[in-house]
Amino acid sequence: MQEVKASMAGSVWKITVSEGESVDSGQDVVILESMKMEIPIAAEQTGTVKELKVAEGDFVNEGDVIAIIE
């Protein structure tokens, strides 16, 4: 199991996967937006998206869990 975490504080701009979808290591899971910067957050391992902890427009802090990959 892998927790995908926010690398910066900001809002969730786009979610590019859905629960139950299989993802490859390095594939973008969400794109965060903060202070005019868009940061793609990628899965670090290949697996299935077990849970998405955020919705588009949500505010996240640095270190918050965004998704769980299994």
Binding site: S7, M8, S11, S34, M35, K36, M37, E38, I39
Partner: protein, 451 residues
Amino acid sequence: MIKKILIANRGEIASRIIRTCKRLNIQTVAVYSEADQKAPFVSIADESFLLGPPRVNESYLNVDKILQIANEANADAIHPGYGFLSENASFAKRCQNAGLTFIGPAGHIMEKMGSKIEARETMQKAGVPVVPGTNGAVANVEEAIRIAAEIGYPIMLKASAGGGGIGMQVVHSDDELTKAFASNSKRAETFFGDGAMFMEKKLENAHHIEIQILADQHGNVVHLFERECSIQRRNQKVVEEAPSPFISENTRMKMGETAVKAAKAIGYTNAGTIEFLVDESENFYFLEMNTRIQVEHAITEEITGLDIVEEQIRIANGEPININQDELTINGHAIEVRIYAEDPVTFFPSPGHIHELHVPAGENIRNELAVTDNYDVTPFYDPMIGKLIVTGGTRKEAIAALKDALANYHIKGIKTNVSMLQTIVDDAQFKSGITTTAFVQDHYLTKFQTN
């Protein structure tokens, strides 16, 4: 005559414009979003009006609301600052249609300079050298490889709809180009809905040097010398200085003359900046034109003694520029550092609460601040929260003053790049005056690489 200006902007630049207006006895109207209710620029303006929610589309880009407030407040002019609506040609036209003076160039000129292709073609026609590359979108990988053979590697691949770095990549071979072309085009398509790609020769060891110009409505154009802005992270400037320690007096003259010629050729009016890339042999190439006031205008003010915002207002009033080129001289040396709310190594934004703020003060120190003590930096806007500008009789004196000033710059509660700036100011390469656009990569980030 302009008697009341609405400032369609926020942060340090709004405060800075208001300051000049006060000195000129011009009334000021601030507009602000819900996120900026406690911002300094709101309280120092003569009047202030709420625009709406924090999101820029509902606040600082809400043209209807801004024009409605300008009308209600009886403003006769709009200063757009930088960013937001400052280079939006349709906004400039709508101001004009509403009987408001837009403090900037005419809409059709902004349009021309806003399109990468058109700006490039216009400058070529005006006899300004441009970076070798394509004048339009590249159809496919095969064409990309053919063009690469003509202009030579390394090549910068750029998404035509991009801006903030997404879709941009440097490639060194046909193999890299093939891979990057497909992936960047796909990314640009996903992000911007437009996968069109351009190619440009990547100049090695290039300096980013720009010329400030002033152009009035009577055909007079002067340049206010150059700013060296090579030290950048994520393609955004971090340290700027004037004059450039790199170029010769001869190049300085040639670049100034070229900028004036270009401004005249396009019929430009008001303050503007022509950005150039300058290679190791001091050949310079047009990069883009900014049709507005720049973040780093302050260093030009420090070395010339002019107030560029005042000049902008006078030009918008239809007054002729009353300075001759040969009366303009460079006095001393000025350096600006941008204070960003971000991690000093990853450059990721760091919004949050500032619970302690102390900035240095002194005769040769100028602070432009967007925040105060006990203040919330929100995630909605640019991470720049302030600018520190120092001057000295010589570059060496300015660097010493900057080092002292940075040692007394304290912000607590959020991450800032102050430690990065301290590292740069102590760096031997920076002190040598040879700073290229690869500086942050080659002389700063290398200090953090672990084996």
